[in-house]
Symmetry: D2
Subunit: 412 residues, 4 copies
């Protein structure tokens, strides 16, 4: 049994290795193959891995993508096309127009998606030729990429993951002092646009209790929103909703702060210095973000492999999970790992507030994908115009031109 | 056969009388009853009517609503609760927060709806008791009101009308020098949030020709948008989309202009001066807006009454008209007048750009209706937060408080 | 403007010519091309046509299919693969097993469909190459063939017709002494499996009146059912429902009667003798069945061509016409002729009794089509086993073998 | 924690007690209350229970229904209105008309349902008043009763159970020598009208292997069908499908056999003789049918109570579980026990063959329920006419009259 990690030279890889080491006996894992287009980072991580794993798990690297993914049962996507330099542009260009610059939401998410799609398309085509591996995707925008893979590339063994759900589950488990598997959430939406509607601990619906508990400290459930907002909505929205619900003040804050990309670059630099010599995961990794990322990935791979019947919140086709959402929308919903796949669980209707956002952004996602597939400037503009965080028409062309210029998108 | 006009003291009534006069023989119309809560205006219009109609059609007024609507086959709603003073507030309060103030869209539409719902609810309850008249609604926000009447009050003989579709049909007919009935449109959306996707003249799909013809003059099809925008979208959106697609510049313009409400007040004043003595419709009425309003209403009533099989674009339950929109959404779609009702015509799928807006605003509509029905401040806030033209959370409460203060909404 | 008639050597053609002659000025029809694989019959009909039309309309014949359909705006399918000899087998083989033998329903319908599909597939492929003509199909089983053409061949300009709806409309018009266009029906189902639920005359719902009127004479509405059955169902089912609702007595009657195919053979023989010399349509044609066939076809072609907005009941994709039936089911529903196409009209929900039959037989239709496309004996058996008038498993193989033997179906 | 058993005087109760005893510690079960309208049987079972349980679990009986269900967390329905005498009539009356007489399918199922509905309605109304217990239903026709409870009575805490799925799961587990929880089935349909489409053992789809294994012995998977039939359908249908697929031979067999009701009466008599003195479950109980019944019930109650996340195949609203079936159809589908409820798992599309049957019989179910609710003779006839195993119209009234006479149905 072999697992490939695409973007294996990432600073996240060490944490992932830790996760995979933990499940290696459960799934009889023999080898991990790392692949990255940056040979230097890849070498640093490879060497760190050897020191860190101390022979408990074999780690190899390959120069040719196919050589890495073939014979792999699972392939992890965690690459970042354009790197942090690209991210920096996505964060700063929109701000010039008074719009939010953020990696996965709004215009930044659009630009990120446009950079990611050609790579995902290429990789999936190549995977199809040499294996039928199950792809677990962490590459952002994770839900958007999964929409692309499932509905446009038609690669069925593809699931999109994010570390937000597992952190939410953990927060709920901590709040009631139970195990992770004792928590069940009515939770749904698009990745980074999700809504928690009900919380069950064992056989009890504790939603009212949760609302009470977070009255004075929403952070208890991992939320940065004022509790009055949560109470108003009667929903706990993803923290990414702040870009929609606090747009103006966020723009102001972003304008006055160092871009997140720059901070991360510094963290990364520091981390790679450590990776060169360390044989344990450096504590600085926690600054990088992505908490519990490796746990989510490793547990999902283990449970799909064992068909354990465990529940994971993943990005997959809705398929009736939320009854008033079309079956083909890729959604982030609770699913059960069985028969070597994930099957969504039917959790009922979505709230109208959530529906309004979900439909809107799903249509943005699809227009963006069609813009990429048809290399269409017009469709790209159309996508941006639909997005609530997108530009007005009178400066939309300028904005798009800026993005095309810095990222070199192939749009006519 | 009797027709009632609720809001009969409106400055629009004279034009409507003209329309009804034109069809009186077709439908064997004997009498028109005018009802209004403003006795002075009502008297002016009544007296004008007598002079204008010269006995061709009997016009009466009633002080008690029930006395007017009973024995009526059709009831026209064209009232405006809160009057132009209310409208002025809806146009100016949002601007204080840098948001668009407009009568039917965004926050203004919200406030208008909240003023209209109690009146519509009351009137429908009273109509149900004394007649089963067919209600033709022009009261704004017309689609929102129809959503309320059909899906929440369950009054089935209710259709929402707007003068935009007939003007669009007329523009297309003029463009190709054909009659109105030779034009067929793939046109859909929520009232004031509609999209024209295809134009047929007789058996020919002339969409490409239309796009070509409006390249240098979008006004040919009645649009105020740059033709590049129409080309980008591959759709002709309602002119009300400008509030979404040119939000910033519109806010700026609005801030620098006299509010439309004030202009209309002046027009109205002038008009009522004329109505006092005129026996013909004064040309100044054209400044009032609402062109072809009476034609749309009269033709619809005639065709429903005759079950002529003619096509009208009206607000009614989608019922499969647009295949990727739920059946129960009230939509503005082509429908056929048969069997004393309107039956929507199946026109295929909606474009993703249109879908994004339609779903979003429909959910806003429903949250607003629920806020009214439950007298819920939280739901009102939730509705405003969902709207793309609505406030951020950090000033949403202040904005809502302002609206509650000036309009006296009953929200807890 | 040219119209082609495939199966032009049919005894029906003269009536069709009459219909087309009546509309020739409306649609500026210049020429009719007849095509048939039976050269003898074709010659007889061609010669009759010349005598009958007296130069008012040009009639030509072609030996090569493509030469006939090219340059045609409309192509009429009215061929019968296997001829009346094939029909005789379809009527007699099932009876050996105690099952109903009927041309379009049950096993007979299955066998007919299996003979028709390869021809339709071939013709459509050839039409696509030389023209984009609108196909009006009368070839039985007409709804099943339309399901095949629209959902499996993907040829969109295809509409299935039957003479039953127009006869029903005529019966309702006669009953209330109004014109055909004053009648509107809530009527739906699969061809030969339809249900009339409501009747409107002008703006009035006269369903209760109709039920009252047919109490003592269901024939008034063209039904052969006891009025107690109609009352029980609260629906007027197609007369073909008798095969389901009176299965045993029908089998008995069929066993004791001369097969309809034989009767028709005799009628046909007689007719062709007349056609050889006649210059008017012989009254014997009325014995052939298919009353008002030509009216239905000619009016539909005229109204599609003129995009008149007239309503026709045709076989087309449901597309929301009946709200509790999937959009893609080909159904016989009221549709409006506009923009050179037919658009279904939304008529509401189907009755549960009707739904039970419609779903069941639609699935039979699809299994049959898949059996043909995959040349699969197993799928053919599966289709027969699903049909309520089909065989039990213990003699299903024998029955299928008999059909394969006499018709030479290519099934493995 | 208390569980009530309605129909507690049934011969099945001892097996159920065994099942509940096994889980008593898991769910902290303190007391079982038995209720039955037959005091004699109830006493026998109660006394047997005391001897059998030896104080490990408290068993009480109540004369008043409310006294039994109040304070109960779970209520089991296993009553049989009309008893075996009623069943005997259901089995013999249809045979007089050459139709299948069977307890849960066709006419017998109709009669059974009509006897059961008033009792279920009454019991549910009374449960709602004194508790909000979760009802686990075994009363036949179990799916039909669940359709009634969920969609017509609106009692949400209701789940329909049958012993067939657990036997199928066990057969698959035995075939591959794994545990029950290692098996996952794509299995769906209406109770006693189900279809097994795919079998997964752990992460592997073993469907082809299963088909191969049962080639010479379908009994391996618990099927009584010839393997050629299973191969033809590419589905394993419930054994109850034999009534549809082998109708004639089954009628013949039934005519020549002692009615099952009579055999069961004899078994029951024998069993009750044993229960009077035994203190262990007599081996004769296995002749009674209902194998693994108690396991299914006890495991379901345990897993709902513990919200274990285990999968159970139960009758519940489809809710997207099968994507091409409406959400509100009560279906027998895999569901997960979480949050004190069952949530269906999304398993994809149903096969067209299965769909044809499912839709047809669901409409029969709904017409039957409406016939009961409206006390309508016409709707009862309509239901019978729709059923593929029902009567032709010419003898449907006689048949219905016979049923009304013997069972005293209140139909007008």
């Amino acid at each position: 049994m072999r697992i490939s990690v695409i973007g294996g030279g990432s600073s996240y890889t060490p944490e992932l290795l830790k996760g995979l080491k933990d499940i290696k006996d459960d799934i009889d894992l023999k080898e991990i193959c790392l692949y990255d287009i940056n040979p230097e980072k890849l070498r640093t991580i490879e060497e760190f891995s050897r020191r860190y794993l101390k022979g408990e798990l074999k780690v190899v690297t390959e120069k040719v993508f196919e050589d890495c993914v073939k014979d792999s049962s699972y392939v992890l996507f965690q690459f970042r096309p354009g790197g942090l330099e690209g991210r920096l542009k996505d964060e700063t260009i929109p701000l010039k127009y008074g719009l939010i610059g953020q990696e996965t939401t709004g215009i930044g998410g659009f630009a990120m998606a446009m950079r990611v799609f050609p790579i995902v398309e290429d990789y999936i085509n190549r995977i199809e030729k040499v294996s039928r591996a199950f792809v677990v995707n962490f590459t952002n925008p994770s839900g958007h990429v999964t929409e692309f893979a499932l509905n446009y590339l038609g690669y069925e063994k593809f699931v999109g993951l994010c570390n937000i759900p597992i952190n939410l589950l953990q927060a709920a488990a901590d709040m009631f002092e139970v195990n992770l598997e004792d928590v069940f959430l009515k939770y749904y939406g698009l990745n980074h646009l999700t809504f928690l509607e009900r919380v069950y601990i064992k056989s009890k619906d504790v939603t009212e209790e949760v609302l009470e508990k977070i009255k004075y400290s929403p952070a208890n459930i991992g939320s940065s929103f004022p509790s009055s907002l949560i109470e108003t909505l009667n929903l706990l929205p993803s923290s990414y909703l702040k870009y929609y619900l606090f747009e103006r003040s966020t723009v102001k804050n972003l304008k006055n702060s160092k871009p997140r990309a720059q901070i991360v670059m510094e963290v990364e630099k520091e981390l790679f210095e450590k990776y060169k010599f360390a044989s344990e995961i450096p504590p600085e990794l926690s600054k990088r973000g992505g908490s519990m990322y490796s746990t989510a990935a490793a547990m999902l791979i283990r449970d799909i492999h064992l068909s354990s019947g465990s529940i994971h919140i993943v990005n997959t086709k809705n398929s009736g999970a939320v009854s008033n959402i079309p079956d083909d929308y890729v959604m982030e919903v609770p699913s059960i790992a069985k028969g070597g796949k994930v099957f969504p669980i039917s959790i009922g209707e979505a709230d109208p507030f959530a529906l309004g956002f979900i439909h809107n952004i799903k249509m943005f996602e699809r227009l963006t994908i069609e813009a990429y597939l048809k290399r269409s400037r017009k469709l790209a503009l159309k996508a941006l115009l639909l997005h609530p965080l997108g530009p007005d028409y009178d400066f939309a062309e300028d904005l798009l031109n800026d993005l095309i210029e810095v990222h070199g998108f192939d749009l006519k």
